[in-house]
């Protein structure tokens, strides 16, 4: 890839819907997002309110889409780290390298009562544990080297067991022996996404996330958060260019071609209880995206439509079309994996003695 980091614009959209449990509506929205060449779709999940298992839904979507990244929320507070990493790796296998995982925690006592195993804990402790789950997941994805399967009839060996590794992870709340039951997934590590809005989550995002979601109502504000995250990532020993920072906006494109209200469109989004809201037309949204990206304060946007079908269609046919026309956004997918869309390299395996991943 010749374009230097920062020039690629990355766009993602949420496909959350209220009270939808059938596959059809999710398939339709994901295909719509794919027709616009978006990097990925997200589907939120929580035990705290009605909704299907998000990873299951996007796994159902995988075989009937081709290129778009699939990023379900999977919570890590009351679930088993070993199961979570296996499910995310499997999503990567069934989508042929398009899986991501939005890591989240369960903070309420109500959620704790559904499991009856532990009480609710403070957010900083939960995000500390979430970091450990993100770490052990990557170790388990690496616990199979890429060339562990040898099928050597002469010696009768299916695998080279020197390329399978116990991870022996000791966390503050759990331990995992390993190796994983699932061979290393196509992307090596499926993409880890963290909403870095809250302070407690920001550390975990800086250390482990490939994509951090932030909330900002202005380009300058976005730039400040992005700079902080990149500096923090560097302190954790990471190359900050391996972290993509996307601004999350709630999207309401119901008001016609142009922004009707002051404080929108050219003025930028408005703060609400659900995060910054952009209400206006698709053309002005394209202006906003182009302007902020031109300022180099963001790597892209994660957009949550208030009316999924209507707003996604306007986003793709209006905003995205305009950005494509101006040469700011891809018109086709040059790669096939989510990492390729995001311009992130396939990570080397920490256990591999020589060479490593391509």
């Amino acid at each position: 890839m010749t374009s230097s980091h920062g020039r690629g614009l990355h766009l993602a959209a949420a496909v959350d819907q209220r009270s939808a449990y059938d596959a059809g509506s999710y398939v339709e929205l994901a295909r719509l997002a794919e027709s616009g060449g978006l990097d990925f779709v997200t589907l939120d999940d929580t035990f705290a309110r009605p909704g299907p298992d998000a990873l299951a839904v996007l796994s159902r979507v995988a075989p009937v889409t081709n290129r778009i990244g699939l990023v379900p929320t999977v919570t890590v507070t009351h679930t088993e780290p070993f199961h979570v990493q296996a499910a995310v790796a499997t999503l990567d296998w069934v989508s042929r390298g398009r899986a991501g995982w939005r890591i989240d925690v369960s903070t309420t006592e109500g959620e704790a009562r559904l499991f009856g195993r532990r009480h609710a804990a403070p957010a900083d402790a939960l995000w500390q544990e979430a970091g450990e789950v993100a770490e052990v997941a990557a170790e388990l994805w690496d616990s199979w080297e890429d060339d562990a399967e040898i099928r050597d009839a002469a010696t009768g060996r299916f695998v080279d067991r020197d390329k399978l590794h116990h991870v022996d992870f000791q966390g503050s709340e759990f331990s995992v022996k390993g190796p994983s039951i699932v061979p290393r997934p196509p992307q090596g590590h499926p993409v880890r996404v963290v909403d870095a809005t809250e302070g407690q989550a920001r550390r975990t995002a800086a250390r482990y996330a490939d994509v951090a979601l932030v909330r900002a109502a202005s380009s300058a504000q976005a730039g400040a958060v992005r700079a902080e995250l990149r500096a923090s990532a560097e302190k954790f020993g990471r190359d900050p260019d391996t972290l993509r920072v996307l601004v999350s906006l709630v999207l309401d494109l119901g008001d016609g071609e142009h922004a009707a209200e002051p404080g929108h469109g050219g003025g930028g989004p408005r703060q609400t209880a659900h995060g910054p809201l952009y209400r206006g037309g698709p053309v002005d949204l394209a202006e906003l995206i182009a302007a902020w990206h031109g300022d180099r304060t963001v790597d892209g946007f994660h957009l949550t439509p208030v009316e999924p079908r209507r707003d996604l269609e306007r986003l793709v046919n209006g905003t995205v079309a305009l950005l494509q026309h101006r040469g700011l956004f891809r018109t086709f997918y040059p790669g096939s994996t989510l990492r390729e869309h995001l311009g992130l390299a396939r990570p080397a395996n920490r256990y591999a003695v020589t060479g490593g991943a391509s």
Binding site: P52, E80, R113, V159, V182
Partner: protein, 463 residues
């Protein structure tokens, strides 16, 4: 009173088991494909659907097996997480049921019930859950509840302190799952639940409305007394583990013996249903079986023998003997004689694999077989590993399958192919049409849900 002759109106139920992480699966064959690529699962599931099977079945393993302290490397290793894979398969199939084996020891009812209900929604009513429990701290090392042992084979002292047996927790787990599935009214109203017993103390609201089947189909594998009771009380399908080759326990030197043992098992399990207010049709008995076909009986026997040779490589033969003897026998020649000393009484050499029977008795049996027939280690292991369940021409196999079902030795079969992904192609192309001609198998799916394929009624929710 006239006694009506038994007709073949009792229909056979068929299911497909994805080739497992075990030595039944032959990976060295040139036709053997990936055990992890989605295309392999898609091929096998669509083949089974083409054959109008009731369901497609995935096994589970939560820790890679180890032998002599190292990861076992002779069999297929590595598999997907079952429920995630089945949701993807729901996109490329339309009617076939999708069954996941999921451990009740290392999961929690709320989350698992939610995942199963989600699969049922996304597949339009095709979800099934094969309930298993785990028996070792070895597997527990991968999980939060690793130290929590609550299983039947625990020493009694530990059993007392942990306060329960695995069947108890598994049965309670299933009961809680059913409560959660019933917690929404059929017209979409969520009602709070609260459940407190010896194992679980949970309360709140379930996040998923009642799914198309009401309750996903519940499968119980295994044939212990406790397992039979659990199946009679809680399961829709029982999948008896009939040992390698798919024989019921007991005599199986003759076809007649196999049939009689199957009938005894069938009668025993079905007789237990009445005390739970259930009828014989409410529980389907579907043993796992292997099938080998040939154009002639002799060719089928030849192919069956060749498959058994493939399944027991020289290295696998030594491994099998080491597992019985409980000691390192890597210096022994697989084409030579057995050790002349007796096995270790309590070997801990192999982890994550179910131990079968008394090792001293098995060792004596194998040595006797070797002496009588003049067989090497490998030849003996092949000989002792048991023949495939049904070997013959398509006509002969179809007739035998029908006989087993008509004579109440089974309601159907879970076919365990030895090749990924093409291991069922021949059965579907050659045997299924013959079963249909005999009127013993459906010619189309009549309903959309797995319950309808199995002829099970929808469970009544608490209104």
């Amino acid at each position: 009173m006239t006694v009506r002759p038994r007709t073949s109106r009792k229909e056979i139920h068929l299911a497909a088991h994805f080739p497992g992480v075990n030595s039944t699966t032959v990976w060295a064959d040139p036709r053997s494909g990936s055990q992890i690529a989605f295309s392999s699962f898609e091929h096998l599931a669509r083949t089974a659907e083409r054959g109008l099977f009731d369901f497609f079945f995935l096994a589970e393993g939560l820790r890679l097996r180890e032998h002599k302290g190292r990861i076992h490397d002779l069999d297929v290793v590595g598999r997907p997480e079952s429920l995630t894979l089945l949701n993807a398969l729901a996109a490329v199939t339309e009617r076939i049921g999708l069954a996941a084996t999921v451990n009740a020891t290392f999961n929690e009812p709320y989350e698992l019930a939610r995942r199963l209900a989600t699969l049922d929604h996304l597949s339009g009513g095709r979800a099934a859950w094969n309930v298993v429990t785990s028996s070792d701290a070895f597997t527990g090392e991968n999980f939060r509840r690793g130290g929590y042992l609550d299983r039947a084979d625990l020493p009694h002292s530990q059993l007392r302190s942990s306060g329960g047996t695995p069947i108890t927790r598994a049965a309670e787990f299933v009961a809680v799952a059913r409560e959660l599935w019933d917690s929404w009214t059929p017209d979409g109203l969520s009602r709070p639940f609260a459940h407190r017993d010896q194992h679980f103390d949970i309360a709140g609201e379930f996040t998923v409305p009642r799914s198309p089947q009401g309750h996903p189909v519940v499968i119980q594998a295994g044939d212990s007394g406790e397992g039979r009771e659990f199946a009679a009380r809680s399961a829709d399908v029982v999948f008896p583990c009939w040992g390698s080759g798919g024989y019921p326990p007991g005599r199986h030197s003759t076809r007649h013996g196999t049939l009689e043992d199957g009938r005894a098992f069938y009668a025993d399990v079905k007789a237990r249903l009445a005390k739970y207010g259930r009828s014989a049709d409410d529980l389907k008995i579907m043993p796992g079986v292997t099938v080998v076909l040939g154009d002639t009986a002799a060719e089928a026997q030849e192919r069956a023998a060749e498959i058994r040779r493939q399944q027991v490589s020289p290295q696998n033969a030594i491994l099998a003997v080491e597992q019985i003897w409980g000691t390192d026998l890597s210096s022994y020649d697989p084409d030579g004689p057995f050790p002349d000393f007796d096995p270790e009484p309590d070997p801990s050499l192999t982890q994550g694999r179910t131990r079968r029977g008394d090792s001293v008795a098995t060792a004596e049996k194998w040595r006797a077989l070797s002496r009588q027939k003049g067989l090497s280690i490998r030849q003996t292991v092949i000989e002792a590993s048991g023949r495939q369940s049904f070997i013959g021409t398509p006509e002969a196999v179809a007739a035998e399958l029908e006989t087993f079902v008509r004579q109440d030795a089974a309601d159907g079969f879970i076919l365990v192919p030895h090749l990924t992904p093409g291991g069922l192609d021949e059965f579907v192309d050659r045997v299924v049409p013959l079963l249909q001609e005999r009127g013993a198998f459906r010619t189309e799916y009549r309903g959309a849900t797995l319950r309808s394929h199995l002829g099970l009624t929808e469970p009544g929710g608490k209104g």
